[in-house]
């Protein structure tokens, strides 16, 4: 019958298209696609502009908080890392004035210029989460150091995992 043959042809065609296009990979991010906080299609895509940077003379305090760590192919705040950001949010809400610089970093692999931007993505993801925790956008600065300031110098996953991070620097 004409319509049955047509359906069989289209079904075979569909199978072939799927087989031939198998090289194209969908996102491999492990966190339920790229829809989470900081994901490419995440909330707040239009963004809230950054306020002015703190003056060069402002007091800055690093090392007050535990860094947030990221998976290799991710710029999203994992669920297991969220409490670290929540701690920062609580601290900021206790003290008025001043704010935090959210400093994004990458591991040593890949293009320096792209890694500068990937580090900025990680910083932006943490900033977005702080904002959902009601921290005022104007109090959060982002800064990326790309792959230029590793804390671990080994050429292995143990070091790379320590370098894929966001650090918090309070300023007044």
């Amino acid at each position: 019958m004409q319509s049955k043959r047509w359906m069989m042809l289209m079904a075979m065609g569909l199978v072939c298209v799927v087989a031939l296009s198998g090289c194209k990979k969908k996102t491999t991010s492990g966190n339920a696609g790229d829809n989470g906080i900081g994901g490419v299609t995440g909330t707040d895509v239009n963004g809230t502009g950054l306020g002015n940077r703190p003056d060069l003379g402002a007091t800055e305090m690093a090392g007050q908080f535990v860094p947030v760590y990221f998976d290799y192919d991710s710029a999203q705040v994992k669920e297991s890392e969220r409490s670290k950001v929540e701690t920062v949010a609580e601290q900021l809400k206790k003290a008025s004035g001043g704010g935090v610089i959210v400093e994004g970093h990458c591991d040593e692999r890949g293009s320096r210029e792209y890694n500068l931007s990937l580090g900025e993505r990680r910083a932006q993801a943490v900033r977005a989460y702080l904002m959902t925790l009601s921290v005022d956008a104007a109090r959060i600065q982002t800064k990326s150091m790309g792959k230029e300031k590793p804390v671990a110098l080994g050429h292995d996953e143990e070091s790379w995992a320590k370098n894929r991070r966001v650090e918090f620097v309070l300023f007044k």
Partner: protein, 418 residues
């Protein structure tokens, strides 16, 4: 089309089974061919390019500067890829002359086609003794012009080196010689790119503890801020007419590609708001488009996109390789870039057909390619054992060549347009 025929014969087998070659089959075939994956990527066959033989046994040099002139000239002619030195008798070209130093450097050059029995270049040159290298580069380019080829030796390379113990900018000639240190900041810097005039360059530096874009004027020995907006400032690609600068900025809460007058004003956003990481904008030779890097398709898997300078929908250029980064758009219309295929390889892509070819041997990580002024060679960094050096690549099949060696790591090269 060769790889398509295998599939066609499978379908023909199916059609015999079905028993009908109907219009529906033709439509399915058209759909399937349209859905086949990326355009061809060809690996350049190694074995060296075709070269003309040249006899320079009667090019005589007397004195230190003259000897340096002769050596640099001969090395340039070899590195151009168009010549190979040969013994007297039987060479296709001859280079005869004398260079001597007596106060100034004087050189008489006579370059001939032996086959055509014709002088192609017959000229006298004078330069200060300290300018022997520059004169050699100039003569090399003139000899190449005499055989109808564009030379690359007027070009200069800016790059980052850790020779001093910190990351600083350096400039050198196309053969790696004449190295000079440009910055003394003892600070982090990245992404140097020449302005079209070859006298100024932009780069990203953390002089105020944030990534900002600066413009250095080498002749005036001055530096000024180009972009220091809140958040990240990077890119700093000056348009071919020298009036605009393309920037990646995160000031609006997300990263986007912007274009602004170089000397100030309000940046105009070209890309839609998204959480993607954008990097490395580079202008087309006619200034009508920009190629840039974006990971919008998949985090940590950046690809190349092209967009009109007036904005609109970007078009994706790359599909092969898990990362495609660091594009350089040559005057020849081709884009060279680094592609992660196991290791980083340097590739050359035609943005019209999307066909690409790999021009590196795959034995190390080759990154940050930049076109040489001859449109044939590419300068890049090569990293092996976590040490980086600057290399000269050939798109016509010659093997990669290391440029002069100094201690430290050398990377992120950018070559002047001319």
């Amino acid at each position: 089309m060769g790889k398509y025929f295998g599939w066609l014969s499978v379908f023909q087998g199916l059609e015999i089974g079905v028993g009908v070659f109907s219009k529906a089959w033709k439509m399915v075939l058209v759909l399937l061919i349209a859905a086949l994956p990326a355009p061809a990527q060809v690996r350049v066959v190694k074995g060296g390019s075709a070269k003309a033989t040249i006899d320079w046994s009667r090019l005589v040099a007397t004195g230190g500067a003259a000897t340096e002139f002769k050596r640099v000239l001969e090395d340039d002619l070899i590195h151009s890829g168009w010549f190979t030195p040969a013994a007297p008798g039987g060479a296709e070209f001859s280079l005869v002359g004398a260079a001597q130093e007596s106060g100034a450097l004087n050189a008489t050059i006579q370059f001939a086609s032996v086959i055509q029995r014709q002088w192609l270049l017959s000229k006298q040159y004078t330069a200060e003794s300290g300018a022997a290298r520059r004169l050699a580069h100039k003569v090399a380019d003139e000899i190449l012009a005499a055989i109808g080829r564009k030379g690359m030796f007027s070009g200069r390379i800016v790059m980052i080196g850790t020779h001093s113990g910190a990351k600083e900018l350096y400039v050198c000639d196309m053969d790696g010689g004449n190295l000079s240190q440009i910055t003394h900041d003892n600070n982090i810097c990245l992404g140097p790119h020449w302005a079209p005039d070859g006298n100024r360059l932009t780069y990203t530096a953390f002089l105020k503890r944030y990534p900002d874009v600066y413009l250095i004027d080498l002749a005036a020995r001055s530096r000024r801020v180009v972009a220091s907006y809140p958040g990240m400032n990077s890119g700093g690609a000056i348009s071919p007419d020298g009036t605009l600068v393309a920037l990646i900025l995160s000031k609006d809460g997300y990263q986007a590609l912007y274009v602004r007058a170089l000397n100030g004003g309000v940046p105009v956003r070209l890309t839609e708001g998204s959480r993607a990481a954008l990097a490395s904008p580079c202008w087309s030779p006619d200034g009508s488009h920009l190629v840039y890097v974006s990971d919008q398709a998949s985090t940590a898997h950046p690809q190349l996109y092209v967009i009109s300078r007036s904005g609109g929908a970007p078009r994706r250029l790359t599909s092969r390789g898990s990362q495609n980064v660091a594009p350089s758009w040559g005057a020849n219309g081709l884009i060279t870039y680094a592609s992660l295929q196991g290791r980083f390889q340097v590739c050359v892509l035609d943005p019209n057909t999307l066909d690409s070819k790999v021009v590196t041997p795959g034995d190390a990580d080759y990154e940050d390619p930049s076109w040489a002024p001859d449109g044939r060679h590419i300068i890049c960094s090569r990293t092996a054992g976590y040490r980086s050096r600057i290399y000269l690549l050939d798109t016509l099949g010659d093997s990669p060549v290391a440029l002069s060696e100094f201690s430290g790591d050398w990377y992120s090269p950018s070559v002047t347009a001319k």
